[in-house]
Amino acid sequence: MKFRFAHESIEINAGLLIALTLVVISIGGLVEIVPLFYIDETIEEVEGVRPYTPLEQTGRDIYVREGCYTCHSQMIRPFRDELLRYGHYSLAAESQYDHPFQWGSKRTGPDLARVGEKYSNEWHVQHLEAPRSVVPGSIMPNYPWLSETALNTSDIEGKLRALKMVGVPYSDTDEEYQANVERFGEDAAKMLDIHTAEENLIAQAQAGNYDGDRSNLTEMDAIVAYLQLLGSLVDFSKYDEGYFAEFR
Protein backbone atom coordinates (compact mmCIF):
# COMPACT_ATOMS: atom_id res chain seq x y z
CA MET A 1 0.00 0.00 0.00
CA LYS A 2 1.28 3.41 -0.88
CA PHE A 3 1.95 5.55 2.20
CA ARG A 4 -0.19 8.67 2.44
CA PHE A 5 0.03 10.99 5.41
CA ALA A 6 -3.65 10.94 6.09
CA HIS A 7 -5.72 10.37 9.20
CA GLU A 8 -6.62 6.94 7.93
CA SER A 9 -2.99 5.81 7.61
CA ILE A 10 -2.35 6.81 11.25
CA GLU A 11 -5.44 5.00 12.45
CA ILE A 12 -4.71 1.72 10.73
CA ASN A 13 -1.01 1.71 11.67
CA ALA A 14 -0.61 0.98 15.40
CA GLY A 15 3.16 1.66 15.52
CA LEU A 16 2.79 5.04 13.84
CA LEU A 17 -0.17 5.88 16.08
CA ILE A 18 1.87 5.19 19.24
CA ALA A 19 4.90 7.14 18.00
CA LEU A 20 2.87 10.20 17.01
CA THR A 21 0.84 10.07 20.26
CA LEU A 22 4.08 10.15 22.25
CA VAL A 23 5.31 13.14 20.26
CA VAL A 24 2.09 15.07 20.82
CA ILE A 25 1.80 14.44 24.57
CA SER A 26 5.47 15.20 25.24
CA ILE A 27 5.22 18.68 23.72
CA GLY A 28 3.40 20.05 26.79
CA GLY A 29 5.98 18.59 29.16
CA LEU A 30 8.94 19.72 27.11
CA VAL A 31 7.68 23.28 26.72
CA GLU A 32 6.89 23.61 30.43
CA ILE A 33 9.81 21.77 32.04
CA VAL A 34 12.89 22.01 29.81
CA PRO A 35 13.15 25.84 29.82
CA LEU A 36 13.42 25.79 33.64
CA PHE A 37 16.86 24.23 33.25
CA TYR A 38 18.28 27.18 31.34
CA ILE A 39 16.21 30.18 32.48
CA ASP A 40 18.58 32.20 34.72
CA GLU A 41 16.02 33.05 37.40
CA THR A 42 14.72 29.54 38.15
CA ILE A 43 16.77 29.07 41.34
CA GLU A 44 17.08 32.12 43.58
CA GLU A 45 20.52 33.24 44.72
CA VAL A 46 20.25 32.94 48.46
CA GLU A 47 22.64 32.33 51.33
CA GLY A 48 22.50 29.40 53.70
CA VAL A 49 21.14 26.54 51.61
CA ARG A 50 23.45 23.51 51.69
CA PRO A 51 23.06 19.80 50.94
CA TYR A 52 21.88 17.56 53.79
CA THR A 53 24.42 16.18 56.25
CA PRO A 54 24.72 12.36 56.31
CA LEU A 55 22.39 12.15 59.34
CA GLU A 56 19.79 14.48 57.83
CA GLN A 57 19.94 12.62 54.51
CA THR A 58 19.41 9.32 56.34
CA GLY A 59 16.43 10.85 58.14
CA ARG A 60 15.11 12.06 54.84
CA ASP A 61 15.31 8.55 53.40
CA ILE A 62 13.27 7.28 56.37
CA TYR A 63 10.76 10.09 55.78
CA VAL A 64 10.37 8.91 52.18
CA ARG A 65 10.34 5.23 53.17
CA GLU A 66 7.49 5.76 55.65
CA GLY A 67 5.53 7.65 53.01
CA CYS A 68 5.21 10.87 54.99
CA TYR A 69 4.86 12.70 51.65
CA THR A 70 1.52 11.02 50.99
CA CYS A 71 -0.03 13.31 53.62
CA HIS A 72 2.50 16.12 54.12
CA SER A 73 3.69 18.51 51.45
CA GLN A 74 6.83 20.62 51.75
CA MET A 75 5.78 23.57 49.65
CA ILE A 76 4.36 26.78 51.05
CA ARG A 77 2.70 28.67 48.24
CA PRO A 78 2.84 32.47 47.86
CA PHE A 79 -0.63 33.21 49.25
CA ARG A 80 -1.56 35.31 52.24
CA ASP A 81 -3.33 32.51 54.12
CA GLU A 82 -0.37 30.16 53.71
CA LEU A 83 2.06 32.87 54.78
CA LEU A 84 0.05 33.54 57.94
CA ARG A 85 -0.15 29.88 58.84
CA TYR A 86 3.18 28.41 57.78
CA GLY A 87 5.59 31.31 57.27
CA HIS A 88 7.52 32.52 54.24
CA TYR A 89 6.67 30.80 50.96
CA SER A 90 9.12 28.13 49.85
CA LEU A 91 11.93 29.09 47.50
CA ALA A 92 13.09 26.89 44.65
CA ALA A 93 16.59 27.26 46.13
CA GLU A 94 15.46 25.56 49.34
CA SER A 95 14.73 22.28 47.60
CA GLN A 96 17.58 22.39 45.07
CA TYR A 97 19.34 19.43 46.73
CA ASP A 98 16.18 17.35 47.18
CA HIS A 99 16.07 14.05 45.33
CA PRO A 100 13.20 13.44 45.07
CA PHE A 101 11.56 16.77 45.91
CA GLN A 102 8.73 16.78 48.45
CA TRP A 103 6.47 19.37 46.84
CA GLY A 104 2.82 18.54 46.64
CA SER A 105 -0.65 19.92 46.33
CA LYS A 106 -2.47 17.44 48.56
CA ARG A 107 -2.33 18.00 52.29
CA THR A 108 -3.96 15.54 54.64
CA GLY A 109 -1.61 16.71 57.37
CA PRO A 110 -0.10 20.18 57.59
CA ASP A 111 2.70 21.40 55.34
CA LEU A 112 6.12 20.66 56.82
CA ALA A 113 8.33 22.98 54.78
CA ARG A 114 9.06 25.16 57.84
CA VAL A 115 8.53 22.75 60.72
CA GLY A 116 12.23 22.89 61.67
CA GLU A 117 12.94 24.43 65.09
CA LYS A 118 9.23 24.96 65.64
CA TYR A 119 8.84 22.26 68.30
CA SER A 120 11.31 20.65 70.69
CA ASN A 121 13.04 17.33 69.95
CA GLU A 122 11.09 15.75 72.82
CA TRP A 123 7.84 16.81 71.20
CA HIS A 124 8.80 15.22 67.87
CA VAL A 125 9.72 11.93 69.53
CA GLN A 126 6.49 11.85 71.53
CA HIS A 127 4.42 12.90 68.53
CA LEU A 128 5.93 10.36 66.13
CA GLU A 129 5.48 7.52 68.62
CA ALA A 130 1.92 8.44 69.55
CA PRO A 131 0.50 11.52 67.77
CA ARG A 132 -2.77 11.54 69.70
CA SER A 133 -1.00 11.78 73.02
CA VAL A 134 -0.16 15.40 72.19
CA VAL A 135 -2.67 16.31 69.47
CA PRO A 136 -5.98 14.67 70.43
CA GLY A 137 -7.69 15.25 67.07
CA SER A 138 -4.82 13.92 64.94
CA ILE A 139 -5.42 11.13 62.41
CA MET A 140 -1.71 10.44 61.89
CA PRO A 141 -0.65 6.81 62.41
CA ASN A 142 1.74 5.87 65.24
CA TYR A 143 5.36 5.25 64.27
CA PRO A 144 6.68 3.51 67.42
CA TRP A 145 9.24 1.39 65.57
CA LEU A 146 11.34 4.46 64.76
CA SER A 147 12.57 4.51 68.37
CA GLU A 148 13.16 0.76 68.44
CA THR A 149 14.92 0.26 65.12
CA ALA A 150 18.69 0.69 65.13
CA LEU A 151 19.89 3.12 62.49
CA ASN A 152 21.71 1.54 59.57
CA THR A 153 24.74 3.74 58.96
CA SER A 154 26.86 1.43 56.82
CA ASP A 155 25.37 2.36 53.45
CA ILE A 156 25.64 6.14 53.79
CA GLU A 157 28.72 6.45 51.56
CA GLY A 158 26.93 4.72 48.73
CA LYS A 159 23.87 6.95 49.19
CA LEU A 160 25.96 10.11 49.02
CA ARG A 161 27.76 8.84 45.91
CA ALA A 162 24.43 8.19 44.23
CA LEU A 163 23.27 11.72 45.09
CA LYS A 164 26.56 13.12 43.81
CA MET A 165 25.87 11.47 40.47
CA VAL A 166 22.64 13.46 40.13
CA GLY A 167 24.36 16.74 40.98
CA VAL A 168 24.44 17.16 44.78
CA PRO A 169 27.92 18.53 45.62
CA TYR A 170 29.15 15.94 48.14
CA SER A 171 32.95 15.90 47.94
CA ASP A 172 35.03 12.92 46.88
CA THR A 173 38.34 14.59 45.95
CA ASP A 174 40.40 17.27 47.73
CA GLU A 175 39.52 19.70 44.99
CA GLU A 176 35.80 19.19 45.52
CA TYR A 177 36.27 19.54 49.26
CA GLN A 178 38.03 22.90 48.81
CA ALA A 179 35.25 24.05 46.50
CA ASN A 180 32.71 23.15 49.22
CA VAL A 181 34.72 25.06 51.85
CA GLU A 182 34.48 28.15 49.69
CA ARG A 183 30.82 27.64 48.90
CA PHE A 184 29.35 26.45 52.21
CA GLY A 185 32.03 27.22 54.83
CA GLU A 186 34.39 24.80 56.51
CA ASP A 187 32.00 23.28 59.05
CA ALA A 188 29.43 22.40 56.41
CA ALA A 189 32.07 21.21 53.96
CA LYS A 190 33.36 18.67 56.49
CA MET A 191 29.86 17.21 56.75
CA LEU A 192 29.66 16.88 52.97
CA ASP A 193 32.80 14.76 52.66
CA ILE A 194 31.87 11.32 51.41
CA HIS A 195 34.88 9.58 53.02
CA THR A 196 34.01 10.60 56.58
CA ALA A 197 30.25 10.32 56.09
CA GLU A 198 29.64 7.46 58.51
CA GLU A 199 31.65 8.93 61.40
CA ASN A 200 30.07 12.36 60.79
CA LEU A 201 26.63 10.77 60.88
CA ILE A 202 27.29 9.10 64.23
CA ALA A 203 28.97 12.21 65.68
CA GLN A 204 26.06 14.49 64.77
CA ALA A 205 23.52 12.08 66.24
CA GLN A 206 25.55 11.84 69.47
CA ALA A 207 25.97 15.59 69.77
CA GLY A 208 22.37 16.43 68.89
CA ASN A 209 20.84 13.72 71.11
CA TYR A 210 17.68 13.98 69.06
CA ASP A 211 15.70 11.14 70.61
CA GLY A 212 16.86 11.87 74.15
CA ASP A 213 18.90 8.66 74.41
CA ARG A 214 22.61 8.88 73.63
CA SER A 215 23.27 5.21 74.33
CA ASN A 216 21.86 3.93 71.06
CA LEU A 217 21.45 5.29 67.57
CA THR A 218 17.93 4.81 66.23
CA GLU A 219 15.96 5.83 63.19
CA MET A 220 14.22 8.36 65.45
CA ASP A 221 17.51 10.28 65.81
CA ALA A 222 17.78 10.63 62.05
CA ILE A 223 14.20 11.61 61.27
CA VAL A 224 14.06 14.20 64.06
CA ALA A 225 17.37 15.69 62.86
CA TYR A 226 15.86 15.97 59.39
CA LEU A 227 12.57 17.48 60.60
CA GLN A 228 14.38 20.04 62.76
CA LEU A 229 16.29 21.28 59.71
CA LEU A 230 13.30 21.79 57.41
CA GLY A 231 12.98 25.37 56.24
CA SER A 232 15.49 26.75 58.72
CA LEU A 233 18.47 27.32 56.42
CA VAL A 234 17.53 30.68 54.90
CA ASP A 235 17.45 33.74 57.16
CA PHE A 236 14.63 35.72 55.59
CA SER A 237 15.23 38.76 57.78
CA LYS A 238 18.35 39.42 55.69
CA TYR A 239 16.38 39.97 52.49
CA ASP A 240 14.00 42.58 51.19
CA GLU A 241 10.71 40.88 50.21
CA GLY A 242 11.01 42.43 46.76
CA TYR A 243 14.29 40.60 46.19
CA PHE A 244 12.62 37.22 45.72
CA ALA A 245 10.09 38.68 43.27
CA GLU A 246 13.01 39.58 40.98
CA PHE A 247 13.46 35.89 40.26
CA ARG A 248 9.97 35.44 38.82
Binding site: P35, R80, Y89, E117, K118, D240, A245
Partner: protein
Protein backbone atom coordinates in the same frame (compact mmCIF):
# COMPACT_ATOMS: atom_id res chain seq x y z
CA UNK B 1 -26.96 15.88 23.01
CA UNK B 2 -30.56 15.06 22.15
CA UNK B 3 -29.67 15.34 18.46
CA UNK B 4 -27.05 12.65 18.83
CA UNK B 5 -29.44 10.29 20.55
CA UNK B 6 -32.03 10.60 17.83
CA UNK B 7 -29.35 10.01 15.27
CA UNK B 8 -28.26 6.78 16.90
CA UNK B 9 -31.77 5.53 17.37
CA UNK B 10 -32.89 6.28 13.81
CA UNK B 11 -31.91 4.20 10.83
CA UNK B 12 -29.88 6.81 9.00
CA UNK B 13 -26.72 6.85 11.15
CA UNK B 14 -23.75 8.58 9.60
CA UNK B 15 -20.55 6.60 9.38
CA UNK B 16 -16.98 7.80 8.92
CA UNK B 17 -16.80 5.95 5.66
CA UNK B 18 -13.89 3.79 6.86
CA UNK B 19 -14.25 0.03 6.51
CA UNK B 20 -11.99 -2.58 8.10
CA UNK B 21 -12.00 -6.29 7.39
CA UNK B 22 -14.52 -5.66 4.69
CA UNK B 23 -17.55 -4.73 6.80
CA UNK B 24 -16.37 -3.19 10.09
CA UNK B 25 -17.60 0.40 10.09
CA UNK B 26 -17.42 3.33 12.47
CA UNK B 27 -20.27 5.65 13.54
CA UNK B 28 -19.64 9.33 13.19
CA UNK B 29 -21.17 11.23 16.09
CA UNK B 30 -19.74 14.74 15.84
CA UNK B 31 -19.19 16.79 19.00
CA UNK B 32 -21.99 19.21 19.81
CA UNK B 33 -21.68 22.62 18.20
CA UNK B 34 -21.56 24.51 21.51
CA UNK B 35 -18.63 22.38 22.61
CA UNK B 36 -16.69 23.00 19.40
CA UNK B 37 -17.24 26.76 19.60
CA UNK B 38 -16.25 26.87 23.27
CA UNK B 39 -13.09 25.03 22.32
CA UNK B 40 -12.28 27.57 19.59
CA UNK B 41 -13.03 30.38 22.06
CA UNK B 42 -10.50 29.03 24.59
CA UNK B 43 -7.87 28.97 21.82
CA UNK B 44 -8.56 32.62 21.00
CA UNK B 45 -8.50 33.44 24.74
CA UNK B 46 -5.10 31.80 25.09
CA UNK B 47 -3.68 34.08 22.38
CA UNK B 48 -4.61 37.10 24.51
CA UNK B 49 -3.29 35.37 27.63
CA UNK B 50 0.07 34.70 25.94
CA UNK B 51 0.48 38.41 25.28
CA UNK B 52 -0.69 39.74 28.66
CA UNK B 53 0.84 37.22 31.08
CA UNK B 54 4.40 35.80 31.33
CA UNK B 55 4.29 32.69 29.16
CA UNK B 56 6.81 31.74 26.52
CA UNK B 57 10.42 30.86 27.32
CA UNK B 58 13.12 32.09 24.95
CA UNK B 59 16.93 32.02 25.24
CA UNK B 60 17.67 32.18 28.99
CA UNK B 61 14.58 34.16 29.94
CA UNK B 62 10.88 34.38 29.08
CA UNK B 63 8.21 36.80 27.83
CA UNK B 64 7.14 39.04 30.71
CA UNK B 65 3.66 39.98 29.55
CA UNK B 66 2.61 43.29 27.96
CA UNK B 67 1.02 46.10 29.96
CA UNK B 68 0.59 43.94 33.04
CA UNK B 69 2.63 45.17 35.99
CA UNK B 70 2.41 45.13 39.77
CA UNK B 71 3.58 47.99 41.97
CA UNK B 72 4.46 47.56 45.63
CA UNK B 73 6.72 49.16 48.22
CA UNK B 74 10.01 47.54 49.16
CA UNK B 75 11.41 47.57 52.70
CA UNK B 76 13.09 50.92 52.10
CA UNK B 77 9.72 52.43 51.20
CA UNK B 78 10.55 52.87 47.52
CA UNK B 79 8.00 51.98 44.90
CA UNK B 80 8.93 48.93 42.85
CA UNK B 81 7.18 47.93 39.65
CA UNK B 82 7.60 44.42 38.31
CA UNK B 83 6.02 42.32 35.61
CA UNK B 84 3.08 40.21 36.76
CA UNK B 85 4.13 37.34 39.06
CA UNK B 86 2.61 35.62 42.06
CA UNK B 87 5.35 36.77 44.46
CA UNK B 88 4.80 40.47 43.71
CA UNK B 89 1.09 39.82 43.86
CA UNK B 90 1.49 38.45 47.40
CA UNK B 91 3.57 41.45 48.52
CA UNK B 92 0.95 43.80 47.13
CA UNK B 93 -1.83 41.76 48.72
CA UNK B 94 -0.11 41.96 52.10
CA UNK B 95 0.33 45.73 51.72
CA UNK B 96 -2.92 46.88 50.16
CA UNK B 97 -5.24 43.86 49.96
CA UNK B 98 -8.72 44.28 51.42
CA UNK B 99 -8.40 41.72 54.22
CA UNK B 100 -4.82 42.66 55.04
CA UNK B 101 -5.71 46.35 55.32
CA UNK B 102 -8.61 45.62 57.63
CA UNK B 103 -6.36 43.52 59.83
CA UNK B 104 -3.54 46.03 59.69
CA UNK B 105 -5.73 48.78 61.12
CA UNK B 106 -6.36 46.62 64.18
CA UNK B 107 -2.77 45.48 64.43
CA UNK B 108 -1.54 49.08 64.44
CA UNK B 109 -3.98 49.89 67.19
CA UNK B 110 -2.77 46.90 69.19
CA UNK B 111 0.83 47.86 68.52
CA UNK B 112 0.37 51.37 69.80
CA UNK B 113 -1.51 50.40 72.93
CA UNK B 114 -0.04 49.09 76.18
CA UNK B 115 -1.13 45.74 77.61
CA UNK B 116 -3.22 47.47 80.26
CA UNK B 117 -5.02 49.58 77.66
CA UNK B 118 -5.86 46.56 75.51
CA UNK B 119 -7.01 44.48 78.48
CA UNK B 120 -9.48 47.18 79.46
CA UNK B 121 -10.81 47.71 75.92
CA UNK B 122 -13.42 45.05 75.00
CA UNK B 123 -13.23 45.86 71.28
CA UNK B 124 -9.47 45.35 71.09
CA UNK B 125 -9.67 42.25 73.29
CA UNK B 126 -12.28 40.75 70.96
CA UNK B 127 -9.87 41.22 68.05
CA UNK B 128 -6.92 39.94 70.09
CA UNK B 129 -8.80 36.82 71.12
CA UNK B 130 -10.10 35.96 67.68
CA UNK B 131 -6.75 36.43 65.96
CA UNK B 132 -4.61 34.93 68.73
CA UNK B 133 -6.83 31.85 68.86
CA UNK B 134 -5.77 31.00 65.30
CA UNK B 135 -2.10 31.81 65.93
CA UNK B 136 -2.25 29.66 69.06
CA UNK B 137 -3.81 26.75 67.18
CA UNK B 138 -1.16 26.93 64.44
CA UNK B 139 1.84 27.26 66.69
CA UNK B 140 1.24 26.52 70.36
CA UNK B 141 -1.54 23.92 70.48
CA UNK B 142 0.73 21.08 69.31
CA UNK B 143 2.38 21.05 72.76
CA UNK B 144 0.05 22.93 75.06
CA UNK B 145 -3.12 21.41 73.70
CA UNK B 146 -6.07 23.14 72.06
CA UNK B 147 -7.22 25.92 74.35
CA UNK B 148 -4.08 25.51 76.45
CA UNK B 149 -5.59 22.44 78.07
CA UNK B 150 -3.36 19.37 77.88
CA UNK B 151 -4.55 15.97 76.74
CA UNK B 152 -4.29 13.51 79.62
CA UNK B 153 -1.44 11.48 78.11
CA UNK B 154 0.69 14.60 77.72
CA UNK B 155 0.51 15.39 81.43
CA UNK B 156 3.87 16.57 82.66
CA UNK B 157 5.46 16.78 79.24
CA UNK B 158 4.41 20.37 78.75
CA UNK B 159 3.01 22.93 81.15
CA UNK B 160 -0.75 23.29 81.16
CA UNK B 161 -1.36 26.96 80.53
CA UNK B 162 -5.09 26.96 81.12
CA UNK B 163 -4.58 26.61 84.87
CA UNK B 164 -3.71 29.28 87.36
CA UNK B 165 -0.08 28.30 88.02
CA UNK B 166 2.73 30.21 86.31
CA UNK B 167 6.15 28.58 86.25
CA UNK B 168 7.88 31.55 84.63
CA UNK B 169 5.52 34.24 85.82
CA UNK B 170 2.04 35.24 84.72
CA UNK B 171 2.33 38.96 84.11
CA UNK B 172 2.07 40.15 80.51
CA UNK B 173 5.76 41.16 80.51
CA UNK B 174 6.82 37.73 81.73
CA UNK B 175 4.59 35.87 79.28
CA UNK B 176 5.92 38.00 76.42
CA UNK B 177 9.47 37.18 77.49
CA UNK B 178 8.63 33.46 77.57
CA UNK B 179 7.13 33.44 74.09
CA UNK B 180 9.79 35.67 72.53
CA UNK B 181 12.91 33.96 73.84
CA UNK B 182 11.69 30.49 74.80
CA UNK B 183 12.51 28.72 78.08
CA UNK B 184 14.64 25.84 79.26
CA UNK B 185 12.91 24.09 82.12
CA UNK B 186 15.50 22.07 84.00
CA UNK B 187 15.63 20.19 87.27
CA UNK B 188 18.63 17.94 87.96
CA UNK B 189 18.10 14.21 88.42
CA UNK B 190 18.68 13.34 92.08
CA UNK B 191 18.65 9.59 91.51
CA UNK B 192 22.46 9.46 91.61
CA UNK B 193 22.92 11.31 94.89
CA UNK B 194 19.93 10.20 96.93
CA UNK B 195 19.05 6.60 97.67
CA UNK B 196 15.53 5.22 97.52
CA UNK B 197 14.83 5.84 101.19
CA UNK B 198 15.79 9.50 100.95
CA UNK B 199 13.75 9.96 97.77
CA UNK B 200 10.78 8.52 99.66
CA UNK B 201 11.31 10.96 102.53
CA UNK B 202 11.58 13.93 100.17
CA UNK B 203 8.45 12.89 98.31
CA UNK B 204 6.56 12.70 101.59
CA UNK B 205 7.73 16.18 102.55
CA UNK B 206 6.78 17.65 99.16
CA UNK B 207 3.31 16.08 99.31
CA UNK B 208 2.96 17.30 102.88
CA UNK B 209 3.53 20.97 102.09
CA UNK B 210 0.74 20.91 99.53
CA UNK B 211 -1.72 19.55 102.05
CA UNK B 212 -1.64 15.80 101.41
CA UNK B 213 -1.71 13.44 104.35
CA UNK B 214 1.74 11.87 104.68
CA UNK B 215 3.86 9.84 107.07
CA UNK B 216 5.10 12.56 109.41
CA UNK B 217 8.44 11.00 110.43
CA UNK B 218 9.40 10.50 106.78
CA UNK B 219 8.29 14.04 105.94
CA UNK B 220 10.39 15.44 108.78
CA UNK B 221 13.47 13.63 107.45
CA UNK B 222 12.59 14.87 103.99
CA UNK B 223 12.45 18.45 105.22
CA UNK B 224 16.08 18.21 106.34
CA UNK B 225 17.13 17.04 102.86
CA UNK B 226 15.00 19.72 101.18
CA UNK B 227 16.29 22.57 103.30
CA UNK B 228 19.86 21.26 103.68
CA UNK B 229 22.89 20.89 101.46
CA UNK B 230 22.14 17.28 100.65
CA UNK B 231 19.13 18.02 98.46
CA UNK B 232 19.46 21.77 98.15
CA UNK B 233 15.90 21.90 96.82
CA UNK B 234 15.38 25.30 98.43
CA UNK B 235 17.80 26.89 95.92
CA UNK B 236 15.12 26.86 93.26
CA UNK B 237 11.88 25.98 95.03
CA UNK B 238 12.52 28.42 97.90
CA UNK B 239 12.64 27.64 101.61
CA UNK B 240 8.85 27.89 101.76
CA UNK B 241 8.45 25.74 98.62
CA UNK B 242 6.62 28.38 96.62
CA UNK B 243 9.18 28.30 93.79
CA UNK B 244 11.42 30.87 92.14
CA UNK B 245 10.04 32.25 88.90
CA UNK B 246 13.53 33.15 87.69
CA UNK B 247 14.36 29.41 87.61
CA UNK B 248 10.96 28.30 86.35
CA UNK B 249 10.73 26.27 89.55
CA UNK B 250 7.25 25.07 90.42
CA UNK B 251 5.31 26.19 93.45
CA UNK B 252 5.12 22.99 95.49
CA UNK B 253 2.63 24.27 98.03
CA UNK B 254 -0.39 24.72 95.78
CA UNK B 255 -2.71 22.04 94.42
CA UNK B 256 -1.38 22.28 90.86
CA UNK B 257 1.10 19.63 89.64
CA UNK B 258 3.08 20.45 86.52
CA UNK B 259 5.23 17.33 86.12
CA UNK B 260 4.43 14.63 88.71
CA UNK B 261 1.06 13.12 87.91
CA UNK B 262 -0.34 13.32 91.44
CA UNK B 263 -3.90 14.16 90.30
CA UNK B 264 -3.93 10.96 88.19
CA UNK B 265 -2.86 8.78 91.14
CA UNK B 266 -5.62 7.01 93.02
CA UNK B 267 -3.79 5.51 95.99
CA UNK B 268 -1.52 7.37 98.42
CA UNK B 269 1.52 5.27 97.51
CA UNK B 270 1.00 6.08 93.82
CA UNK B 271 1.21 9.78 94.66
CA UNK B 272 4.48 9.22 96.50
CA UNK B 273 5.76 7.13 93.60
CA UNK B 274 4.88 9.85 91.08
CA UNK B 275 6.75 12.54 93.04
CA UNK B 276 9.68 10.19 93.65
CA UNK B 277 10.00 9.49 89.96
CA UNK B 278 10.33 13.19 89.15
CA UNK B 279 12.94 13.80 91.87
CA UNK B 280 14.87 10.74 90.74
CA UNK B 281 14.88 11.47 87.00
CA UNK B 282 14.79 15.25 87.02
CA UNK B 283 13.03 17.39 84.44
CA UNK B 284 14.23 18.68 81.09
CA UNK B 285 11.68 20.63 79.13
CA UNK B 286 12.34 23.06 76.37
CA UNK B 287 10.11 25.74 74.91
CA UNK B 288 11.41 26.97 71.53
CA UNK B 289 11.90 30.69 70.94
CA UNK B 290 9.31 32.29 68.70
CA UNK B 291 10.77 35.68 67.79
CA UNK B 292 12.22 34.31 64.55
CA UNK B 293 8.90 32.82 63.51
CA UNK B 294 6.21 35.17 64.77
CA UNK B 295 5.94 38.93 64.33
CA UNK B 296 5.93 41.36 67.26
CA UNK B 297 2.18 41.93 66.94
CA UNK B 298 1.49 38.21 66.89
CA UNK B 299 3.52 37.69 70.06
CA UNK B 300 1.69 40.57 71.70
CA UNK B 301 -1.68 39.06 70.80
CA UNK B 302 -0.60 35.63 71.99
CA UNK B 303 0.59 37.12 75.26
CA UNK B 304 -2.85 38.58 75.86
CA UNK B 305 -4.52 35.32 74.89
CA UNK B 306 -2.36 33.21 77.19
CA UNK B 307 -2.73 35.78 79.98
CA UNK B 308 -6.51 35.42 79.73
CA UNK B 309 -6.43 31.63 79.38
CA UNK B 310 -4.81 30.99 82.69
CA UNK B 311 -6.06 33.90 84.72
CA UNK B 312 -2.95 36.04 84.37
CA UNK B 313 -1.36 37.98 87.16
Amino acid sequence: MSDNNTQQQGNAVQTTGHAWDGDLQEFNNPLPRWWIWTFYATIIFSLGYWIIYPTWPYANTFTKGVGNTITFQNDAGEEVTTHWNTRSLLIKDMQTGEEATKQKAYLEKVNAASYEEILSDPDMMAFANSMAKVVFADNCAACHGPGGDLPEQAFGLYPNIADDAWLWGGTTAEIEQTITHGRNGYMPAFGKNLDDEKLEQLANYVLGISGHSVETDKAAAGEKIFQGQEGGCYYCHGADGTGLKSQGAANLTDAVWTVANVPGAVKEEDKVAAVKRVIKNGVSRQMPLWKSRLGEEQIKLLTLYVHELGGGK
